[in-house]
Symmetry: C2
Subunit: 298 residues, 2 copies
């Protein structure tokens, strides 16, 4: 997805929020915003939002002298999500369509997103997910929900690349990964996280903290952008990305980075900003299971 | 009020919205945002938001080659508000405290604010005001409402300076001005508008279009900022401002420009942004009748 002009005010909001989380003084917060402002005339709107967010992330790291501003938040998100793992698991167990609930929970977990929401109370958001009825997601919020296609492609796929989004959300990913393995334990799942800290995106350590490695091979995509920007990915990752039978992409950032891919992808995310909602053609807050398929030339 | 760092994302939003209203192409919209971005490192946060909004307004006028971007919107707002003048008047007539309702309506009219709201459907907003019960404003939204003081100072004042805010809102101001004159026709009311176009702020022509001149002397404050920034005002205006018995200041912009004045002022506005709400100590959407009084040294 190209960057919309409406993303520009939001870059400033995100930078300010991150500066505050880093404990920057007001003077330093202004220096951060000034530096972001200096980048605006240089950026091309052909770049995707995660490409620009990566530049802003580097500004933040440099000025705050903190390379992992969300370190504590990520740890807390993992812990809070792990605390409700048994609850989530029970939701799946008691369902007549276990895979569906696992998919819905994996998307619901995408609410733990500091990049899109700017401010967030993870505890409150998790409580909302837990208090929801057996079906985690209301029908009216499932405007784009290619679940039948998801089931069909999943059945046919031997290898699955699962693109992680945020820390904490990884626990919800684990639920879905476990369900996929339960259905067919021969499936090979690769879980790709970010290489270096950017906002609250999951890193290797978050995947391991949340127990992903028990059912999937954890790798890094090589990027430090809050979305899997292919031009920044490692060759090792790209090889897997191209060859794998199925790609499950979590989160807005990965959708923004990959929205015009040359291979089929399932995008799972919550539409958390009006720009994304408009781009996708859904309402704000909708849960999206969007199948991007490649039309074959006749 | 000093500019908060949180105002910076909002400046970009406002500039983008204005660029779109001016019909600027996407390329021109980006040029506008780039130019706003270039100003950010230069601005001092000691300036008030209207001072910065004035700089942005000039950028917009220059790039869009349109000196009055909101001209049509202002005309429409005047017309729509005049259409409901009789209804508003009846609300006042049928009330047991006519002045109170007139004050409440004057504040309710402050909803017609493109500076704070970014996008707005004036028709919808006016319908909401009309559909409200006799009391225009709910009690829970009147957290700061110094009405008794307002009545008292009004009674003692012979000359009143009324600082206008937006076009259309002028009709609501007229209702209050007429009520003040009905109570005591000897009171001298001066209604001050902006000198040059800035967002949808009322100009001389808007005051006349809405019939203000029948009960008040209409003057210009001399500014082209969306708030009465004293350092930009004409000497003629400043003389009146200092000497007048009572100042009634409408809108967020005037509050931002004048929030630490050296003279008593009544601020009438709706708290339309979280920064203002926090600064004032009220909830978002609250209607404010705030008396700024000068503490005498003992």
């Amino acid at each position: 997805m190209k960057t919309y002009l409406d993303c520009i005010p939001c870059f400033f909001k995100q930078a300010l929020e991150s500066g505050r989380i880093a404990g920057a003084s007001k003077r330093k917060q202004k220096i951060i915003l000034d530096e972001v402002a200096r980048q605006i005339p240089k950026i091309s709107l052909n770049a995707s939002p995660p490409q620009i967010a990566r530049v802003i992330n580097r500004i933040l790291q440099k000025i705050t002298k903190n390379n992992d501003i969300y370190a504590q938040i990520k740890k807390d998100s993992n812990r809070l999500a792990l605390n409700i793992y048994d609850h989530l698991k029970r939701k799946v167990l008691h369902s007549s369509d276990r895979l569906l609930i696992a998919v819905e929970l994996a998307i619901a977990g995408n609410i733990i997103d500091y990049g899109a929401k700017n401010s967030l109370n993870v505890d409150d958001e998790l409580a909302k997910i837990l208090n929801a009825e057996t079906k985690a997601i209301k029908k009216e919020n499932k405007t784009i929900f290619d679940y039948e296609k998801f089931k069909q492609v999943l059945k046919q796929s031997r290898t699955i690349l699962y693109l992680a989004d945020n820390a904490g959300e990884t626990v919800f990913d684990r639920i879905l990964i476990e369900e996929i393995k339960r259905i067919d334990e021969t499936k090979e799942i690769i879980y790709a996280v970010k290489e270096k800290p950017v906002i609250n995106d999951a890193l290797m350590e978050d995947a391991f903290a949340c127990g992903i490695e028990k059912n999937a091979q954890v790798i890094s995509s090589g990027v430090d952008s809050p979305g899997t920007v292919l031009s920044l990915c490692s060759n090792k990752f790209l090889k897997i990305y191209r060859k794998t039978d199925m790609v499950i992409s979590k989160g807005q950032g990965n959708f923004e980075a990959l929205s015009q891919p040359k291979r089929p992808i399932f995008f799972l995310f919550i539409a958390k900003c009006p720009v994304i909602a408009k781009d996708v053609g859904c309402k704000l807050g909708d849960v999206i299971l969007k199948y991007h398929h490649i039309k074959k030339l006749k």
